[in-house]
Symmetry: C2
Subunit: 135 residues, 2 copies
DNA sequence: CAGTGAATGATAATCATTCGCAAGTAAAAA
DNA sequence: TTTTTACTTGCGAATGATTATCATTCACTG
């Protein structure tokens, strides 16, 4: 039961301590986009001695290694998810906070076009839709 | 020399104090997307007794009145600009921080389509491109 | 098993932002 | 014009998220 995150850590020769393993496990078992606080409480349920400082450190480490992606929906606190090979963007329900994922090749291509037209090499982007559920 | 922001304040019967007038003026004279700290120092150059708390309060007031737009590029500190009638999105130069504006009707339409398809009414969105200048 | 560098937990520090409050100011009422 | 009332401001404290510090512990090498 070696998670995908753990495999990636080995590839990048990131030392996998017990606490990092816990953070990795909690994240791979989360399908929502948990905040640091949420991650911390889920991880603390496994090992109560875990420090939130270590959670922050681990998240940053994983993010810089390209293993995780950080989001700051609407400029709020950071939320994380596993970086997947197939890129997607997000729609956030403004009433409930629920995050829905979507992919749109057309928009991705248009972004490339726009950047090129403006004289830039596109390095990344952030697309968030904010909406309200239609009953 | 009544700025557009001042006009909008009158329309919304927002009391225009001297400090609010200064914040309005500094913003209308800025074509970049200044952070609160930047706005504060530009405003303090006009009236040194101005408090940063008032700047924050004024920015929030104007934003809630739809007069300003707040951005949190890459999850960093808030930056502001005058809300214009013609919507645009941003490309940020990751080396210099320079912000370039662009408009793309096609992307806007696709966003509506996506939201609808997912069963949501699109209320807002955020699209940021991050790129590096091609020499 | 000792030696060295990295990782951890606890806590202090920092940064952006908001609050609380006493004092000032403007608009409404008398 | 006085009085009353409501809104604003500056200052500093409080907050919440994140990072830094530091003594201690851990992992790996020889
Ligand atoms: Mn996602
Ligand atoms: Mn803009
Ligand atoms: Zn995308
Ligand atoms: Zn747009």
């Amino acid at each position: 039961m070696t998670s995908r995150i753990e495999k990636l850590c080995e590839e990048r020769s990131i030392l996998l301590t017990e606490q990092r393993r816990i953070v990795a496990r909690v994240l791979s078992e989360s399908s929502d986009h948990p905040s640091v606080k949420e991650l911390y409480s889920r991880a603390a349920a496994i090992d109560a001695s875990l420090s939130i400082a270590t959670v922050y450190r681990t998240l940053r480490l994983f993010e810089e290694a390209g293993i995780l992606e950080r989001h700051a929906f609407d400029g709020r606190e950071s939320r994380y998810e596993e970086a997947s090979t197939d890129h997607h963007d997000h729609l956030i329900d403004i009433d409930t906070g629920v995050v829905v994922e979507f992919q749109n090749e057309e928009i991705e291509n248009l972004q490339e076009e726009i950047a090129t037209r403006l004289g830039f090499e596109l390095v990344g982007h952030r697309l968030e839709l904010y909406g309200r559920k239609i009953k």
